[in-house]
């Protein structure tokens, strides 16, 4: 049991380092889309929500799961869509000015 936990913990720590490496390179111009985009990624908790809502071992868990699915889905759909809307606006200077 503890070994299993340690393996998960190792993954957690390594992933934090990967996150630091990747995100340090994001320029300040894109900080808002970074927040909304990473927000959508934290909606990954939807996996857990789907499992508890779908396997529904107890009534309570089922309904809590349903609300969790809705919350996480707002996060996922809202996050990715609004990020795309923002990123669509970032344009370069038209070439003829150069």
């Amino acid at each position: 049991m503890i070994e299993e936990l340690v393996v998960l913990f190792v993954i957690f720590v390594l992933a934090i380092f990967v996150g630091f490496e990747v995100i340090t390179k994001v320029p300040p111009t894109l900080h808002t889309p970074l927040m909304s985009g990473s927000n959508a990624i934290s909606g990954i908790t939807i996996i857990g929500a789907l499992i508890v809502a779908g396997q529904g071992e107890t009534q309570v868990a089922k309904y809590l799961g349903m609300v969790a699915v809705a919350f996480a889905m707002i996060n996922v759909v809202g996050g990715f869509m609004v990020t795309d809307r923002m990123l669509r606006m970032f344009k370069r200077k038209p070439e003829e000015q150069k």
Binding site: V22, T29, T32, L34, M35, I44, Q55, E57, G65, A70
Partner: protein, 464 residues
């Protein structure tokens, strides 16, 4: 076998998230990065629905339909000026979802009646605590940004002591729950305590410190997701949650550095609780005088300059003047004026707020300059135009050791040959500190709503 397959698919999703975030390192590739990340999410959802033993489709269907609808409407209708509120809300829903999943798992364990293994107990507690705190904290942040709750720092006697008591009480309950896992009352206690803590810890933080709070809550929502990953034994959640947690921490750190304040000072300092009124719209303090100029003079100054640098602040978002700014900039450029934009890291209410606003107005991103890039340029600039920014351009930060702003890196707008400040009144900025810039000889004030002022400037430049 299926288990291994599912895990590999989750790994694929996490890899796609990492590639997606990597592509955010340039505006040119960012959009495709976002698509890669959404593809990863789609894979994770489909795999879960197909391979996990899903029995109750009704709840899932309702949850997904409601969530997609609400999220979609939010994403389509939110104004770019309202983006900080939107991100605050999304943080909250993410944290809330994680707390709900962990609570549901608790009830599953309770029902099974076999007791809760200690490691899952710890993860459940952490997930519930951080998730709930993120949820209520984000709602308060949303309220402050939407101005449903006062944007000022709310303080009351013994605030820190009370917060400390709630924190210790909540942790105590969480520990008790691990010792006595069969008592759901303790879980309710943890829920209530964490919810309270979210409210009481965000309420003393003022509006202009919101960039830090939103970044921190963003990080929390990721960590809550990772904790949920420990609860349901899922590496995908752990990796993705850790990525988001790291991202939020980096942004928090950048924001704090840009204000030269520690995170503890932002969170507990109750900065900006009082905002003093110093002088009227054209009033002066003591023997200091303020020069104001007409739109005509300002337009002439801008039209015959070689280089103009616009410095936007939260006032730009309030006045919604980004389109007018762009229009004026276009006209100046046609006349051969070099136009640049100087963006302070904490300008606005969230990281990158100004960049998004200007991008919405079709300002090309290669005209937006960070503080480090633009500061050496100010001495060669003829006119710097400050639009609703205040503390981030206050020269007092450079030399007055007694000022609360001392040491904060600022944009050197006062080093340009002339400085025009667009402002509604002489009210000091968020820090409550009078701005030296306004009294300097090179500075001229253009009072009024920024949008109206820009419209008038556009008319004047047209007539030149």
């Amino acid at each position: 076998m299926t288990d291994a397959l599912i895990k590999l698919f989750y790994l694929l999703a996490a890899v796609l998230f990492i590639f997606g975030l990597k592509r955010l390192s340039s505006p040119a590739t960012a959009r495709s990065g976002n698509w890669l990340a959404s593809l990863g999410m789609l894979i994770a959802i489909v795999v879960t629905l197909v391979f996990q033993e899903i029995l109750g489709w009704r709840e899932i269907f309702i949850g997904m339909a409601v969530g997609s609808l609400v999220g979609g409407i939010f994403a389509r209708t939110v104004k770019m000026t309202g983006m900080p509120q939107m991100v605050a809300l999304l943080n909250g829903f993410g944290g809330g979802a994680s707390a709900l999943v962990a609570s549901a798992e608790y009830f599953n364990y309770l029902q099974a009646g076999e007791g809760i293994p200690l490691n899952f107990g710890v993860a459940i507690q952490l997930s519930v605590l951080i998730g709930t705190l993120t949820f209520t904290g984000s709602l308060i942040a949303f309220g402050k940004l939407q101005e449903l709750v006062t944007g000022k720092a709310v303080t009351y006697p013994l605030q820190k002591t009370l917060n400390g008591i709630i924190l210790i009480g909540t942790i105590g309950l969480a520990v008790w729950l691990m010792v006595e896992p069969n008592n759901p009352m303790a879980l309710y206690g943890v829920l209530v305590g964490a919810a309270l803590l979210g409210v009481t810890s965000v309420i003393p933080i003022g509006g202009a410190d919101m960039p830090v709070v939103i970044s921190l809550l963003n990080s929390y929502s990721g960590i809550a997701a990772a904790m949920t990953g420990f609860v349901i034994n899922n590496e995908g959640l752990i990796i993705s949650g850790a990525l988001v947690g790291a991202s939020g921490l980096i942004l928090t750190n950048i924001m704090c550095r840009a204000m030269n304040r520690s995170l503890a000072n932002v969170l507990f300092g109750a900065f900006g609780a009082t905002v003093a009124e110093i002088g009227g719209p054209d009033g002066a303090v003591g023997d200091l005088t303020v020069r104001s100029l007409t739109h005509e003079d300002a337009a002439t100054m801008l039209a015959y300059a070689r280089q103009v640098v616009f410095t936007p602040g939260y006032g730009l978002a309030v006045a919604q003047a980004q389109h007018e700014v762009r229009e004026l900039a276009d006209m100046l450029q046609e006349r051969g004026v070099q136009v640049k934009y100087a963006i302070h890291p904490v300008a606005g209410r969230m990281p990158g707020h100004m960049n998004v606003l200007l991008a919405e107005a079709d300002v090309p991103y290669d005209q937006l300059y960070d503080m480090d890039q633009i500061n050496p340029e100010f001495p060669q600039t003829d006119v710097s135009v400050v639009i609703g920014a205040n503390d981030v351009v206050n020269p007092v930060a450079r030399h007055d050791k007694s000022s609360p702003l001392y040491g904060m890196p600022i944009l050197d707008v006062d080093k340009a040959a002339h400085c025009i400040v667009l402002k509604r009144s002489m009210r000091p900025g968020f820090a409550g500190v009078d701005n030296e810039l306004f009294y300097q000889e090179k500075t001229s004030m253009l009072f009024g709503d920024a949008k109206d002022s820009f419209k008038k400037l556009i008319e004047e430049v047209q007539q030149l």
